[in-house]
Every structure is written in C-alpha cells, then in structure tokens.
C-alpha cells in the first residue's frame, strides 16, 4: 500500500476548503493560532479521506469536533457529519486494579525455568510496544483486538504519508514564491 496521487488531490481539496473557512476569522492573529488552524484543518481533511470507515478516522473527527465543531461540520458536509460524529467507537474495557495486582502476584510466586523466563520477557516487551502503538494511533486505546490495531495502523500510516507529502509540496512552493 502506498499513497496515490488521487489521495493527494483529494486531501488538497479538503484542506483548501478548511483554510477558506478559517480565512475570515484568522487573518491578523498570532503565528501559534494560525499554526493551530492549519493543523486542525489538515487533520480533518486527512480523516475525511476514509469517510469514517475506520476507527482512527472516527476518533480523530471526534477529537477535532471537541475543539471546533463548526469546522468539522462544514468540512464533512458531504459525508453525513451527524452520523459520523454520533457513531459509536468501540468501548474501552476497564479492569479493577486490585484484581490485576493479585493475579500478577500469584503468577510471580511460581518458579520458572530459564526458557520460560526468556519467553515471558519477550512477551512483556511485545506487550509494552503494542501499548505504545495504541497510544500513538488515534483511537488505539479503544481497540481491544491486536489484529484490528495493526490494520488501523496500516491505514493511518498511509494517510499520514499523504498528508506529509502534500504539506511539504505546499511549503516548498510558498518558500520559493517568497524568495522570488
């Protein structure tokens, strides 16, 4: 899977629409505010590429909607914004910490052989990395399934690459224009 030119164009159109919405309200504001607006519109544009079919896009839309609901509704007007925003994300599983601690103590009491200990260490490393990946991908904490997490990560990376490519080309064009 690689980002395609059609994805780049679609992202550019969405982003342009977002910037037009921001234009009248943020003309003479600070650099930080402008940066925030650009980032926000870019994120919504990226999420709209998948049209709410993936967990990460829905999580990202929900996050940006809390910051600027007007922008999200305007940008997603063609994709049934209300259904997207109201659509439920997978529920997070909550465990009691006391029970978890007890089970860990019970496991630790058992003596293990060298090979078993090595395998346990490897599992622990993988578990921590997986948790790290959940933190990085938007909506990752809500995915209880490893297969789903990896699939979402694949799609998210492709979309991120699209975003980076388009933004870089715009920045290069802008810099060239200024030097001229």
């Amino acid at each position: 899977m690689q980002p395609t030119s059609s994805m780049n164009e679609e992202f550019l159109k969405k982003w342009q629409m977002g910037l037009q919405i921001f234009r009248p309200s943020i003309d003479n504001t600070s650099v930080h505010e402008r940066k925030k607006a650009i980032k926000l519109s870019a994120d919504v544009a990226m999420a709209s590429l998948r049209k709410g079919t993936t967990c990460w896009s829905r999580a990202l839309i929900e996050k940006t909607a809390t910051e600027d609901n007007f922008l999200v509704r305007q940008m997603l007007s063609g994709i049934k914004a209300e259904t997207l925003i109201n659509k439920k994300l997978p529920k997070k599983t909550v465990c009691h910490r006391k029970i978890v601690r007890r089970s860990k103590k019970i496991l630790r009491r058992k003596s293990k052989s060298a090979s078993e200990e090595a395998a346990a260490k490897a599992k622990r490393l993988v578990k921590r990395r997986t948790q790290g990946l959940r933190n990085v991908v938007p909506g990752g904490e809500l995915m209880s399934n490893d297969v789903l997490l990896l699939q979402e990560t694949l799609d998210y990376i492709v979309s991120l690459q699209t975003q980076v490519n388009v933004m870089r080309s715009i920045v290069d064009a802008a810099e060239a224009e200024i030097e001229r």
Binding site: T4, L12, Q20, R129, T130, L154, V164, M167, E179
Partner: protein, 456 residues
C-alpha cells in the same frame, strides 16, 4: 399378505435370542427321555403323527414369542406340560396364514413317511443309537441346535414344497423325544380311538385344532398389548437417532476449516488462536513493507519499535510543516494566492491548446500548475536557482520518503537548462509528454494497492 411378511421379518431377531432357551428345552427333553420306552409298535405309529404336528407348532411358537415370555416359561420347570400346550396355542393363533401351510405340509408328510419309512426293525436300531449320541454331551446339543435352525428356515419357506428326503430324517429323530413331553394329553385320545383306526384319529385332531383356535382370545389380546409395548421404544429410539444426526451436522458448519498438522491441538480454542496469529503475521508483513528501514529488522518487538518511531516522526513532520507554513506567510492570503495561482495556469493552457485540454485529467492540471510555478520562479536569476537546489537536496536527505513532485521539479530544471527562456511553447509540449508518462505510472501504481486492499 405383505404385512404378514414384514411382521415375520421383524420377528426374525428373536430366534437368535431364543437359542439359549432352546438349549435349555433340549436339556429338559433329555431328562424326560431318561424314562423307559414302551416297545409297542402301534403306539409308535400314533406318536409319529402327533409329534409331527407338535414339531411345527413348537417351532412356530419359538419364532413368534418374544424372548422374555419364553424365559418365564422355561423358568417354571414343574409346569412343563402346560407350557408346551400354551406354545402350541400361541403359534397357531399368531400365524393364521401359516396354519394352512402347516396342514398341507402335514398331509404331505403323512403320505411320505409310510412309503419311505424303513421296516420296524430299522426303527428299533435308530432308537438304540440316538440315546447314545444324546448322552455323549456337547456335540449332540450342537446338532440339535442346527436342526432347530432347519425348522426355522422351513417355517419361512413353508409355502414352497420342500424335498421329501430332507423331511424324513429330522421327524424320525424328534419322534422319540416329543412323545414323552406330550404323553399325558396323547394317552386319552389314543385310548379312546385305538379300535376306530387311523382315519377316525385324523378327523378328531382336526376338530381339536378348530376348538383351540376359537377359545383363547385373551391370549391374543395380551400378545397384541405386548407388541404395542415393543413398538413404542423402537419409535423412541428412532427419534433419538434423528436427533443425533441433526446435532452432528451443526457443529461441523460452525467449525473453522483449518487443517491441523501432526501433533497440533485440534480443539476449537486452539484453532481460533492459530487463525488469529496468522492474521497478525500478515498485518506485520504489510507494515514491514510500508515502513522504510523495517525490512532488515527481525522479531516482533523490534518491528513494533520501528513502526512506533515512524508514526511519531510523521506526526512530528506534520506539526513542523504546519508551523513552518504559518510562519512563512504573514497572512493566509499568501497561501491562498499560491493555491489560486495553481488554478490560473490550467485555464491559460486551455486558451492556448483547445484540442489537448480534452485529454487532461485533474492530476495533470495540478502538475502543470506546479510546473509553471517552477518555471516562473526560475526565470529571474540563475544565482537564486543555485540557492534553491541545495535546499531541495537537504530536504530529500532529511526526509526518507520520496515525492513525485520533487522528481517533476528536477526534470523541469534540467529541461530549463537545455532550452532558452523565450521558448515557452516547447516547454509546454515537453510538460505534456511527461504528464502522460506519469499518468501511466500512476495507473500501474493504482493497480497494486487495489490488489493489496483485496487481500486485506
């Protein structure tokens, strides 16, 4: 008639069960034969006739009766004579059709025996030999069991005429056994009919059979009740069998069809876990292809590390680029002007080349826009071009991923060096050619992700 045949077929199983009971009956007959034998010839003749009828009746009764009542009959040793009478009655009533066959066969046997029968001297010899064989023990019992099985086969084949020589031997041997069992009822008619003769005896026997058929209706009713009781559990068993079949089919559909290797566990939980691991490994391979620098890494933990680092770096790039874009432009108006400037060039191209406009796609328009921007930017000063080049090279080094637009820009730079500033037309033509090539590349690139998506 067919129903009767089916009934007989249904009853075929009990004779196997009755074989031990028949062996016990043989034991009783052996005990009976220990009594002394009367030497009178006239009595022997009458006994032969009576024993022939009793043979068929006993065979039929053994076939028709269910295993449990036969056991009860044999268990009561003291009432042996009455049990014999009951069996005869049950046999006659149970198979009405067979009775006619029996009478016909009796007639045949009556005519056959005096013709083929040997002189009385030979009869005496047979009497002397058979008790010796019986007293010997097990082999005698085996032979008798075989004979009973012969009777069973005859009863099934009663409609067809059996050959006479086969009939001769078994009745002779059984003649000696049966008279002891039926001695008490036979004595009375024999004493009364001795002076009358053979013909009068036959007539009296026919009358007896008729009276026996009429009197015991209660026995038949009880027998019917037993048949009903037997039929009910059979139906229950059939229904149970049907249930088993339906149960066996359902789990087969629900199972995951994965062929397990030798030594692998095959319970549903293990199979599901194996499927999950296969899915995870597939996703990891795809991620390995997507993330640059991840091909050399082996091991799941390290691979996950690489993936996390890459995602974080991409996110940081987005932050950096958005900050850079906001700082470069004092206003968003400049950014919009840049975007709008892209839109202007395609329209100018439309004015200049009407025919080729039809062939253009949206991607071509954007690329042309970038192309013209670059050309205009490069026009004023050569020194400024030199300054831009190291920026591009540094950017390419800093970021691993390659951009199609950068490749496009480099091509345009090389073309600019070859052509003069004034030849805009020639540059435009070259731009179209490159766009077509890129379109082909895009087409090829589009096909690959569709396959990947299909696989997912």
């Amino acid at each position: 008639m067919e129903n009767e045949l089916f009934m007989n077929a249904g009853v075929s199983h009990p004779p196997v069960m009755t074989s031990p009971s028949s062996s016990s009956a043989m034991l009783k007959w052996v005990s009976m034969e220990t009594q002394p034998v009367d030497p009178s010839l006239s009595r022997n003749l009458f006994w032969e006739k009576s024993t022939e009828q009793s043979i068929f009746d006993s065979a039929l009764s053994s076939l028709v009766s269910s295993p449990t009542p036969s056991n009860s009959n044999f268990s009561v040793g003291g009432v042996g004579g009455e049990n014999v009478i009951m069996r005869e009655l049950i046999g006659k009533l149970g198979n009405i059709g067979d009775i006619y066959g029996i009478t016909a066969s009796n007639g045949n046997s009556c005519y056959a025996t005096p013709m083929s029968s040997p002189p009385p001297g030979s009869m005496m010899e047979t009497k002397t030999t058979t008790p010796m064989a019986e007293l010997s023990g097990d082999p005698g019992f085996a032979e008798r069991a075989a004979r009973f099985s012969c009777f069973g086969s005859r009863s099934f084949n009663s409609r067809t005429n059996s050959p006479f020589p086969i009939n001769n031997e078994p009745p002779i041997t059984t003649n000696e056994k049966m008279p002891r069992v039926s001695s008490s009822p036979v004595f009375k008619p024999l004493a009364s009919h001795v002076p009358a003769g053979e013909s009068s005896g036959e007539l009296s026997r026919k009358r007896k059979t008729k009276s026996k058929q009429n009197s015991p209706s209660a026995v038949s009713s009880s027998k019917e009740i037993e048949e009903k009781e037997d039929s009910d559990p059979k139906r229950c068993k059939k229904s149970e069998e049907n249930g088993d079949k339906t149960k066996s089919i359902d789990p087969y559909k629900d199972y995951i069809h994965v062929r397990a290797r030798r030594g692998q566990a095959t319970d549903s939980h293990s199979l599901a876990e194996r499927v999950r691991r296969e899915k995870i490994s597939e996703r990891m391979k795809l991620l390995q292809d997507l993330v640059p620098g991840c091909n050399k890494v082996t091991g799941k933990a390290l691979m996950l590390d690489e993936i996390i680092n890459y995602v974080q770096s991409l996110q940081r790039q987005v932050e950096f680029l958005s900050m850079k874009l906001s700082s470069v432009n004092t206003r968003l108006d400049f950014n919009m002007d840049a975007l709008l400037s892209k839109d202007i060039f395609p329209s100018s191209n439309n004015l200049m080349h009407h025919q080729q406009v039809l062939q253009l796609d949206s991607s071509a328009e954007t690329l042309l826009g970038d192309h013209h921007n670059k050309n205009l930017q490069l026009n004023p000063d050569i020194s400024s071009n030199n300054v831009i080049n190291p920026l591009e090279t540094s950017e390419t080094r800093s970021f691993i991923s390659h951009l199609p637009t950068l490749a496009h820009f480099t091509d345009s730079i090389s073309q600019y060096s070859t052509f003069s500033e004034d030849d805009l037309h020639s540059i435009i033509h070259m731009g179209f050619a490159q766009n077509r090539l890129q379109e082909l590349n895009q087409g090829s690139s589009n096909q690959v992700p569709s396959h990947m998506k299909a696989e997912l």
